[in-house]
């Protein structure tokens, strides 16, 4: 049987060789030895990583732009473009000097003027940038390579803000950074380790980056996002393959090298393949969240939101969403992620043990009387869909009258931003995820932001909690900060901006000849080589 099968394969191969098809098909990967082909999680549509919060645009930014600071493996901000910096004794004046030899892709040197212009655009859009701006007295150019930040009062997160790994302060040439923060930039010139090949960009298909030959990496060793960024492949090609099965087949066949977000149920298949490595690049991972709409009954009442805590059993969610126990934590009660500096389980008791009776009592106290609870279900997002299915079942067990509204993710995004009545254009509950260092910090955790109408959809509203977060951001003493953080979390478990439904990781998969993948929480492509 095997003999005839291979005989048939040989005959087919001969026919295709004769037709000139096979040789070409098989020659292609050889010609692309120093090209890293990556199946990315989404199609890159917006090239301005400051203008949008889309992850894919941020990853594009990480390739072509450089940052002043970057996080090392301990999540400490380390200088990246900055050569040296000093802080005045009163903690109000930060003076930064750029490393020598930094150049934009068009050959122009990177100067303080570029930095200040980029900073001033970014801090109009990024929430952490905005918060830093509120503490800023002035930001000025001292000379071509030196710039100075003067604060109105002490702020404990200056370097963390400049070095964070999402929503980064990307340094652009001044002429580009002068673009109104409400408009997208039109020129994509950075000073990062890769150059964007705009002429080869095919939206919906392929994005190409070329190694920047003029990039001067730091001399200190690579350490997560910090240290030397050395491009070890000539080209990085992002391929957008919408079908996960096709992505899997392409990786198995060696047509691509790197599968950025394989569905979690593919992991066992990938792990069994000796030509493929599964790597966890997210030590912090993702946090699934159940977000109530704080504007309308019953979840405008804190008791109803607390009731959700008693309904949720994280392990049920993780089993449905992830399956493989190696990839999730059985329980994590920390709003700011387990494994981070800000991990604490203070206040998380309601989430630790499912108690439907308590939940029912709290719902009653909140004035719930059997009204429909509108739950948005994105059927085209496997993980969110699984979370929603568990929520539906859980709410029904708790005696709630659930109105499931199934839709695609695009509709969920539109709908959840609608502040209207849940029975007309709004909703009561939806799921999303967030993760990485941004989630691990009360200031940058955007779903934790409880600034009412300025908060993310769901509009968590607790100015007392926001005040605590501000106090935390001001504090520079680590011990005092820890104490404030515990008070923040205690308060959060009372007012419940969202319910953490579990923490899990999303590994990547690469061909076995790929070396040097960095554990960075966000995929980056420097330091990677094809052996």
């Amino acid at each position: 049987m095997m003999h005839s099968r291979f005989g048939l394969a040989k005959a087919a191969r001969a026919a295709l060789v004769a037709a000139g098809v096979l040789a070409a098909a098989q020659a292609a990967p050889v010609a692309a030895q120093s090209t890293l082909k990556v199946v990315v999680h989404a199609d890159l549509k917006i090239l301005d990583p400051v203008w949008t919060t889309a992850f894919i645009s941020n990853r594009h930014g990480l390739l072509i732009y450089d940052t002043l600071f970057a996080l090392n493996s301990k999540l400490e901000p380390m200088p990246q473009m900055v050569g040296k910096h000093t802080v005045s004794d009163d903690g109000l004046v930060y003076t930064f000097t750029l490393r020598p030899g930094l150049k934009f892709h068009d050959g122009a040197p990177v100067t303080s003027t570029d930095v200040v212009a980029s900073w001033n655009r970014w801090n109009k859009r990024d929430p952490m940038g905005q918060r830093l701006a509120s503490f800023t007295s002035s930001l000025e150019v001292v000379d071509a390579s030196t710039f100075r930040l003067t604060l109105k009062e002490k702020y404990g997160l200056v370097l963390e803000t400049l070095g964070k790994s999402t929503g980064n302060l990307f340094i652009m040439p001044e002429r580009v950074a002068k673009t109104d923060s409400g408009q997208q930039i039109k020129e994509y010139v950075g000073s990062g380790p890769f150059i964007f090949e705009q002429s080869e960009w095919r939206p919906g298909n392929k994005v190409v980056y070329r190694k920047n030959p003029d990039y001067v990496p730091r001399s200190d060793p690579t350490d997560a996002m910090a240290g030397a960024k050395i491009a070890k492949v000539d080209r990085v090609e992002w391929l957008y393959i919408p079908d996960h099965n096709t992505s899997l087949s392409a990786l198995q066949a060696g047509e691509v090298d790197y599968f950025e977000a394989p569905p979690l149920d593919f992991i066992p298949i990938l792990e069994r393949n000796p030509r493929i490595k599964v790597i966890d690049i997210e030590p912090l991972g993702l946090q699934g969240i159940l977000r109530p709409n704080h504007l309308y009954p019953p979840f405008n009442h804190p008791k109803a939101r607390q009731a959700l805590l008693y309904m949720v059993k994280q392990e049920d969610y993780m089993r449905a969403v992830v399956g493989n126990p190696k990839l999730y934590k059985k329980f994590c009660g920390a709003f700011f992620l387990c494994g981070s500096d800000n991990e604490t389980s203070v206040g998380s008791e309601p989430l630790q043990k499912q108690d439907f009776e308590k939940a029912k009592a709290l719902m009653k106290e909140a004035g719930y009387n059997g009204e429909k609870i509108v739950v948005l279900q994105p059927t085209d997002r496997a993980q969110y869909n699984a979370m929603t299915m568990v929520t539906i079942q859980t709410l029904r067990k708790a005696g709630l009258n659930v109105d499931v509204q199934a839709m695609d993710w695009g509709t969920v995004l539109s709908r959840r931003a609608n502040r209207g009545n849940p029975y007309e254009s709004g909703y009561h509950l939806f799921h999303t995820t967030h993760g990485g260092p941004g989630t691990a910090n009360p200031v940058s955790n955007t779903w934790f932001n409880s600034r009412c109408e300025k908060a993310n959809p769901g509009w968590a509203c607790d100015m007392e909690l926001d005040k605590m977060v501000e106090d935390w951001s001001r504090e520079t003493d680590r011990t005092k900060r820890k104490a404030i953080l515990e008070r923040i979390q205690t308060r959060a478990y009372e007012t419940v901006p969202y319910v953490p439904i579990g923490q899990y990781t999303q590994p990547i998969a690469v061909r076995s000849n790929i070396e040097g993948v960095l554990v960075t929480n966000v995929p980056v492509y420097w330091n990677i080589e094809k052996k």
Partner: protein
């Protein structure tokens, strides 16, 4: 003939107007919000509102409609609200893969289906006929994505004969262009082959029972001549219609095949635009594809005169 042609071309105007109005209203009267999608998952309400304002989506629908029509009249389909690139440019970028797949699938289907259909009709009731029709039913019943995955598993992964996915332009490398077309052509072509073979068989059966066929046989003409010259030519009108409609459908985009084989064609452009609520792209693609349908139908009607001299316009 010329009068007919001019009348048909003029008829395009009301058709396209209706399409334009309906498409615009369907898209803009639903509550979806592209600004929320553009802003990203972590965006605040203020971010979304700003983007909505910048895109002009906060203005009354009728103003947006008239602006769009005014641009359309000047031949401007507008720009993608995500990519900020002209819609026409985006469509033209996607035409090559779609055209290539449509042409290869049509050739594959016609070359296979016509002989099989004629053979089945000629041997009607025999095991050959039954075998051909059984295979046709099977091919027609299997979903394209299942055939696609099967082909990838067998020919690309097990036997390593062909690439799994992607598209290479003919101008870049003709051999790789062909290699990347083989699997999607077979996956998509099997369904069309089955459809066309069944259509050919049924039409041929009808024709083969006509008196003039009996006369031709009585005159002692050889079977191939009877089948191919006398019968097939007269069966051509419904077959050509099926082929033509098939081409139009293929050009309109074959979303599943393009997704399974990661071919960046018009189908994927459309579905992607729909998922992202990229209104100008959706409107532009639908208009262009509708125009193409109208054109194909006109061409089909004109080809009738070649196969049936009784048809005159």
């Amino acid at each position: 003939m010329w009068g007919y042609l001019i009348r048909r071309i003029l008829a395009v105007i009301p058709v396209m107007t209706v399409v334009a109005v309906v498409v615009f209203l369907i898209l803009h009267l639903n509550p979806d919000d592209p600004a929320a999608i553009i802003a990203g998952d972590q965006a605040t309400a203020a971010d979304i509102e700003n983007i909505r304002r910048q895109l002009g989506l906060d203005r009354p629908v009728y103003i947006q409609f008239f602006e769009w029509v005014a641009r359309l009249v000047r031949g401007d389909l507008g720009s993608s609200i995500f990519l900020e690139r002209p819609v026409l440019h985006l469509i033209l970028e996607r035409v090559e893969p779609t055209l290539a797949l449509a042409i290869s699938t049509t050739i594959f289907s016609v070359v296979l289906a016509l002989p099989l259909g004629v053979l089945a009709a000629w041997k009607a009731g025999s095991w050959i006929d039954q075998a051909i029709m059984a295979v046709a039913v099977l091919a027609f019943s299997f979903p394209v994505f299942l055939i696609g995955y099967g082909l990838v598993q067998g020919l690309a992964l097990e036997w390593d004969l062909l690439p799994v996915q992607g598209f290479v332009s003919i101008t870049e490398d003709p051999s790789r262009f062909l290699a990347h077309l083989v699997l999607p052509t077979i996956a998509l072509g099997l369904v069309y082959t089955a459809l066309l073979a069944r259509m050919t068989r049924s039409t041929m059966l009808e024709i083969l029972n006509e008196d003039y066929i009996r006369t031709a046989r009585a005159k002692g003409l050889a079977n191939p001549r009877v089948l191919l010259i006398h019968a097939l030519k007269n069966a051509a009108v419904p077959i050509v219609t099926t082929i033509g409609v098939g081409i139009a459908l293929l050009i309109g985009g074959v979303v599943v095949t393009e997704s399974v084989f990661a071919i960046p064609g018009v189908g994927r452009l459309t579905i992607d635009a729909v998922l992202h609520r990229d209104y100008p792209v959706i409107q532009g693609v639908i208009l262009v594809v509708s125009g193409f349908y109208v054109l194909i139908n006109l061409l089909i009607d004109l080809t009738y005169t070649v196969f049936d001299p009784r048809i005159r316009y």
